[in-house]
């Protein structure tokens, strides 16, 4: 039954992908990309990867759709006519597809317990999590503690991406912070006023924003026990703030969370993560070895994971909101 449902979802994804390629209307393509991500999230959930599904739904279907739409508002809605050599592209794609299909013949069967991935370190993680870290969600244990270096790298990737977007869009704080709200006001064009004249979306949105925040905090701090963690929570909280910006206007959102604070969040989360690692070093352990953070190693692990997840969440929130403002605050040329 699950296989049947998976095949159904995957077929829908192929159809969506074909539609994305076929359409020349970029607006349609963006919405289809969101649908694609939602189908992907359902598929991940079907494979029991609830953490990944949550991330895909929050970031793929939610935030990136909004960011794409923000980018579209700066460019045009129609794809430029393609003048490049299509035959060459088609042959490259065909050869790659054949190679990938050929490679799948060597792949272990779906759900095969003897697959290499289930023989290598996975059993060790599953054995050791209860004993060394003692939290029910093994994904969080692997992500936060066993593979803490990788996650630190990911946080820095997110941070760097945020910095990159701010550089590309010529972040305003250099001249905006000095003049304060005045500069922001002159930069705010009519679309920046939000949905103030739409009564129903505004009322319902205002009603929902606190619950979205609450859910974000739940996902953040419940990550040890169920699906969730900093990345998902950061995306959800950023979504709440972006919804606020869409409803009340960008200017109002910037008054609540000014640029300076957002940049502080971006850097602060990554610093908090790195700082936990340095603290572990100073206390005589290895970098990002949380066991030394408290007298009891397991309590130390819990503190460490809580702190680094908070760092991840803070950075992701800051970066996503900053990127949104970078897109939305720029006037159309």
């Amino acid at each position: 039954m699950i296989v049947l449902f998976g095949v159904f979802l995957l077929s829908l994804m192929v159809i969506t992908a074909l539609a994305i390629v076929r359409t020349h209307h970029l607006f349609v393509a963006v919405i289809l990309t969101g649908i694609f991500s939602l189908l992907m999230a359902a598929n991940f959930f079907l494979l029991d990867a609830a953490d990944v599904a949550l991330t895909e739904a929050a970031i793929g279907a939610g935030i990136s759709t909004v960011l794409f739409l923000g980018a579209l508002a700066l460019t045009g809605e129609h794809e430029r006519a393609n003048t490049s050599n299509r035959l060459l592209a088609l042959s490259v794609v065909a050869v790659t597809t054949l190679l990938v299909i050929y490679a799948t013949f060597d792949k272990p069967r779906f759900g095969d317990p003897l697959a290499p991935v289930h023989q290598h370190v996975a059993p060790w993680y599953l054995d050791k999590t209860a004993e060394a870290i003692d939290i029910p969600n093994v994904v969080t244990a692997v992500l936060g503690s066993f593979r803490g270096y990788d996650t630190l790298g990911e946080v820095f990737v997110v941070f760097t991406a945020g910095i990159g977007v701010l550089f590309l869009f010529g972040a305003r704080p250099s001249h905006g912070s000095g003049a304060g709200a005045g500069a922001a006001r002159t930069n705010t064009t009519k679309p920046g006023q939000g949905l103030r004249h739409y009564l129903i979306p505004r009322v319902v949105g205002r009603l929902l924003i606190p619950f979205i925040f609450l859910f974000g905090l739940y996902v953040q701090f419940h990550g040890d026990y169920g699906p969730g963690g900093g990345f998902q929570a950061g995306a959800i909280i950023a979504a709440a703030v972006i919804l606020y910006a869409l409803l009340e206007g960008e200017e109002q959102a910037l008054r609540v969370l000014p640029h300076k604070l957002l940049i502080g969040l971006m850097a602060g989360g990554a610093l908090l993560y790195g700082g936990v690692g340095v603290a572990a070093l100073l206390l005589g352990g290895n970098f990002l070895d949380y066991s030394v953070l408290a007298a009891d190693p397991i309590v130390g692990q819990h503190i460490g994971i809580l702190l680094i997840e908070a760092g991840v969440g803070i950075t992701v929130t800051g970066v996503l909101i900053s990127v949104f403002h970078a897109f939305a605050g720029r006037r159309r040329y």
Binding site: I200, P201, G205, F211
Partner: protein, 109 residues
């Protein structure tokens, strides 16, 4: 009692499925955007409500039922809002309902 619950749940799921189907057909077959939104919003409201209540009957008094109730509540809040926002955005963009155009033309004659 269990049989009764199963029958009720089965009935709700089928009626919900029928509403989703009607909504899908309507979204494809209706003549203009506003009637299509009207048809599609049927899946979000009646279809989803009936299906979720049907699943709730299967879940019984458990945490799953509470979660489904929360999903139901948020769906009832957000789906009609999304339909409303879509329709008002279309109206703002200058798309007139096809029936209204005909009435306007008759008036101007």
């Amino acid at each position: 009692m269990a049989l009764l619950l199963d029958i009720a749940s089965w009935a709700l799921l089928s009626i919900g499925g029928a509403f989703v189907f009607i909504g899908g057909v309507g979204a494809l077959r209706m003549p203009d955007l506003y009637t299509r939104i009207h048809a599609a919003s049927l899946t979000d409201t009646m279809g989803a409500v009936l299906v979720i209540v049907g699943i709730m009957l299967q879940a019984g008094l458990s945490l799953a039922a509470v979660k489904l109730a929360a999903i139901l509540l948020f769906l009832l809040l957000t789906s009609p809002t999304a339909s409303n926002a879509l329709a008002s955005a279309a109206l703002l963009a200058g798309l007139r309902p096809s029936g209204e155009v005909a009435a306007d033309e008759e008036q101007s004659k």
